[in-house]
Subunit: 414 residues, 2 copies
């Protein structure tokens, strides 16, 4: 079976990629970056086929824009590879060293995860991006992209493989699954013998489907029903600036604010100014009864609004009588991505930081900062919203695991 062969080759390749030195990896990334620019015309020709299919299918202009590649976009892809090449190599870092009374010397050492599977949707730039991050962190990658971008992804993968070959590195360090049908995707998610980790990137529906069907361990990413809580001790101006930024600076992203939680004491003081600023940005406020009573800029919310990730010009508004109710509400409806409190009260700030069960918890800052680049990681493969392995922005380090290397001189257990 072709898929199983591809997975077996990736598993064999992981042992080769793990052995590469930092210099070998960086040189290969630089070579591939140059080759992408050189071969831009080939990639654009392949992308034209995808664009033609998209137009025939009547794809929306927004999605067509995500799919389209130009010389400038390929140059950006190439630049991305160079940036990853310039990042420090996480592999080989000694995380801990300890010795036991019997003389055993233990090193806990950072090592690659192995074979990483990535299932994603239409943006073809993910192909180069995901390769760069997984390769620099010493992993082999198997990509399963969407049918809309299959010609673009195939062309980009071919260029990467050519670059690897020129650098004397196994081209199975990257594989693209050629079939984009559902059966292949399902079969891929069963390849536990070959694939160490699966990372879905894309819509909530895609991620749910992977979580529900995969037998390979999954890192769940992306869904963000992010809350901002306006505490009784909130500064009105800070609240307004942060909330407008978190809701409207970019709508379709997982770290955008989708839910406001408002202390009843500031419902008639701070909240109306926030609501007015949001309305000026054309945001619809879907509010509970108390907020509706306090501010005529809102429309009624129903239960589903409190759980919604709108990714659009809407926000839900919930009134609470104290910080405990705010925390309980957020922990109930949140997707455990990013939440913020606006407050001048240090005790409440610390309580919120401690008790909110999310990957990133902010005091007086926008949730939009949950991002690998904003955190200074220099790269990002996604934002984890699960508890195991990694939480929040995942950079190169989060694409590694560890092993214990133990030196003895004949020790046996008594």
């Amino acid at each position: 079976m072709e898929l199983e062969t591809l997975c077996r080759e990736a598993k064999a390749a992981k042992y080769e990629v793990q052995k590469l030195s930092t210099a070998q990896k960086d040189e290969a990334l630089q070579r591939i970056a140059a080759l992408l620019t050189e071969k831009a015309a080939d990639i654009i020709a392949a992308n034209d086929l995808d664009m033609k299919n998209a137009q025939e299918k009547g794809m929306s202009p927004a999605l067509q824009d995500r799919l389209r590649l130009s010389e400038a976009r390929i140059a950006a892809m190439s630049e991305g590879l160079l940036q990853v090449a310039a990042l420090p190599d996480p592999v080989g870092e000694v995380l801990e060293h300890f010795e036991r009374p019997n003389g055993l010397k233990l090193d806990k050492v950072r090592v690659p995860l192995g074979v990483i599977g990535i299932i994603y949707e239409s943006r073809p730039n993910v192909t180069a991006d995901a390769f760069a991050l997984t390769f620099k962190s010493g992993n082999a990658v198997i990509l399963k992209g969407g049918s809309d971008a299959i010609h673009s992804n195939t062309a980009i993968t071919a260029v990467i493989r050519e670059g690897l070959k020129q650098a004397g590195i196994t081209e199975h360090a990257i594989s693209l699954i050629g079939s984009t049908d559902r059966e292949t995707t399902r079969a891929f998610m069963q390849m536990r013998d070959y694939v160490d980790v699966l990372i879905p990137r894309g819509s909530a529906g895609l991620i749910r489907s992977v979580v529900e069907n995969s037998r390979i361990p999954v890192i769940e990413t992306g869904a963000g029903n992010c809350h901002i809580y306006i505490d009784a001790a909130a500064d009105a101006e800070i609240a307004k600036q942060i909330i407008v930024n978190a809701k409207t600076q970019r709508l379709g992203v997982c770290n955008a604010c989708e839910s406001l939680v408002v202390h009843e004491k500031v419902m008639e003081t701070v909240f109306p100014a926030v609501a007015k600023a949001l309305k000026e940005k054309e945001v619809e406020l879907r509010a509970d009864e108390k907020a509706l009573a306090a501010c005529d800029l809102c429309v009624p919310a129903d239960e589903a609004d409190f759980a919604a990730e709108y990714l659009d010009l809407m926000i839900s508004v919930k009134t609470v009588k104290d910080i405990d109710e705010a925390i309980a509400h957020i922990n109930r409806y949140s997707t455990h991505h990013s939440e913020a409190i606006i407050t001048a009260d240090e005790k409440n700030a610390e309580k919120f930081l401690k008790e909110i069960d999310s990957a990133c918890v902010y005091v007086n800052a926008s949730t939009r900062f949950t991002d690998g680049f904003e955190f200074g990681f220099g790269a990002e493969i996604g934002i984890s919203t699960q508890m195991l392995h990694a939480r929040g922005p995942m950079g190169l380090k989060e694409l590694t695991t560890y092993k214990y290397q133990i030196h003895g001189n004949g020790q046996v257990r008594g």
Copy 2:
């Protein structure tokens, strides 16, 4: 539905347990330790019911011994709780602190995983043990034990809950699933909305079933086809001592050695003495052709032997022409638990440490040291053989995750 109610209560309890101070947790563990001794008669009475059923079912004497509780065993359980109480609390540790140019201050802080589900087989002491470890690390636990031990587990859980109640802590910090049928187990493995992590403890069959059927993220533990490689530069005496220890010191454990890999250069020098020492311990050596030719103490191996975790008086023997072939053989057949090289050659030792893809890799020491206590963790919930989250012995730290706590003063994203 009763199971869902139980899971929902555990989820509510996790937010309470997360808030407990170290002193509150330690006091509760001490109180429960005392109560277990006090109520030993009740627990033994319940255990008698399980023992009676076991005898009627014709359970093997070895399994009956695992199931049996006595005052001494209950005292050991109680002592175990006191030991966990004395361990440092991992929760709240600041793993990293960094500041960004925009003034954001980030702390990466260790936090509990949340609700941990544990599916295990007949040993009732796991009930107290798993509670102690998950509780001390700030988690709520849901236990699903085997039907053989249901009365014992119910009695132990009742004592723990009474102790929690006396300490003023929610008794939903521990829950035992009352039904032990397969349908309940399957339903439990779908409770992703409530349970953050599932850890199976028990036979390879149990673990496989959980890995294949769970929609909750799983930490795979336990299976150990551990290899020892006798390098060309091996010291014969060290090889003999370590291999006899790793194979025979305790047979039924996951860190016992199941496979020998022998460099052809020492097949006629070092190996025969090792084989003789193993035969004296009644170990059957199942060997490939070259080993058979070199040593008349062996019987022929077939392909399945190289993948077997015997947990018994057998060991497989594979001849290799060099260290690269040894590494390739081990990476192919290993369960990625623990492997060792016996060598006086430092370069080969470092190559083996680097290229073997297992949680614990040893130079000149027995694989039997892969153990939370031997590593100095003071406790162990299992040995992870997967890549995500934790590898090797899992103590209290491995039952935690992290979150980012971020202090700002009005930062918005530009």
